[in-house]
Symmetry: C2
Subunit: 242 residues, 2 copies
Amino acid sequence: MNKIYVVGIGPGAYEKMTVEAAKTLESCDVIVGYTVYVDLVREHFPGKAFLTTPMRKEAERCRLAFEQAAAGKTVAMICSGDAGVYGMSGLMLEIGTEYPGVEVETICGVTAAVSGAAVLGAPLIHDFAVISLSDLLTPWEKIEKRLLLAAEADFVVCLYKPSSKKRHDYLQKACELMLRHKSPETVCGTVSQIGREGEQMCLCTLQELQGMQVDMFTTVFIGNSQTRVIDGRMVTPRGYRV
Amino acid sequence: MNKIYVVGIGPGAYEKMTVEAAKTLESCDVIVGYTVYVDLVREHFPGKAFLTTPMRKEAERCRLAFEQAAAGKTVAMICSGDAGVYGMSGLMLEIGTEYPGVEVETICGVTAAVSGAAVLGAPLIHDFAVISLSDLLTPWEKIEKRLLLAAEADFVVCLYKPSSKKRHDYLQKACELMLRHKSPETVCGTVSQIGREGEQMCLCTLQELQGMQVDMFTTVFIGNSQTRVIDGRMVTPRGYRV
């Protein structure tokens, strides 16, 4: 049976890919992906055919991959981070029903919550929630409800897609909601360009975060009530001292 | 400056480690860890010194690692999954304040939420919460509150440590709480021994999950209101169809 691999390449650097992801890309004829991600891996896999589609053409990108596989090629669809966290593996399984002769296998990778946490210190050591602030496919009311309940539950919260050109004030709004249940002194951190050139991290309080501008390549971490700064790193203790 | 690497080895198989993790372990003199994890990597890194301590001796294990580093060895402390998700990187940074001459660097890995999701299909495509049912270091009331609020927020919920010998009914209790806000027909999945010999997955409804017994090596996924079964895989759509 023909096979498509949906491969999470991690944050971007070749070395942060899993051994299995690297071997899988090595074994494929065709690598399909969003232009930016293909450019991250291209130099490491010479001799492969690369096919790209722009952002928001996800369904088109999936069918492009399936057509290649149906024609007998071994195909990898790549995603940044992990393909299963706001990635393409779900859509690939959905569209896969149109191509019963092609099997889909997901090769997992390191998602930004995990790679960003390692840069900041250890913010995700205890229970956490991951929330995207993108309202392209999710009503803002739903996102707002999740932010409020996650804050009330004292989760460490990791925010993906904290802003875009059209949504420059969404992080500010999210912080306002968090502040209804979390202290303004809550330890927060941001990381951008994780594992890529220009990687930057910043520690701040929730109150300070509310006034900050970040770009869409930034991952934001909001601590729980126990999160502290230790030697310049953001650390959530493993357990609650009761 | 002497250096300790805190390395997430992923679910267990060598190939699911990042390239960076494999290179780091290769470069170290000493590999420290919980006995079970050391046994998973031992064969791939011949010639290294391996030091182990049993479960629940975490602080002792950290100091063992720091003592080796302070003595001039290059040391890796290994964790299963990612070191930053219920792992050792937080405690290492805390205890690191006692050893100012030793620098701690975290090498990220694939945590069970991500590796388990890839086995089941694509359950974590949208916002999710990760909750451990272990009440060794966290009061049960806190866990209960998080479960309820996560269910109310319609998060996909991933449960770590769903049971132990002393806590055989905790998964059942968690399902009862989830059922206050989620439908009994909610799509759920369990994965055990991810990426190891004997890997097993199971799809079921939330009502069925409530009656199941799972072991502590199992990771449990409870879908959101949109999660469906597609061709035998658990899939959460990327967006809400509004």
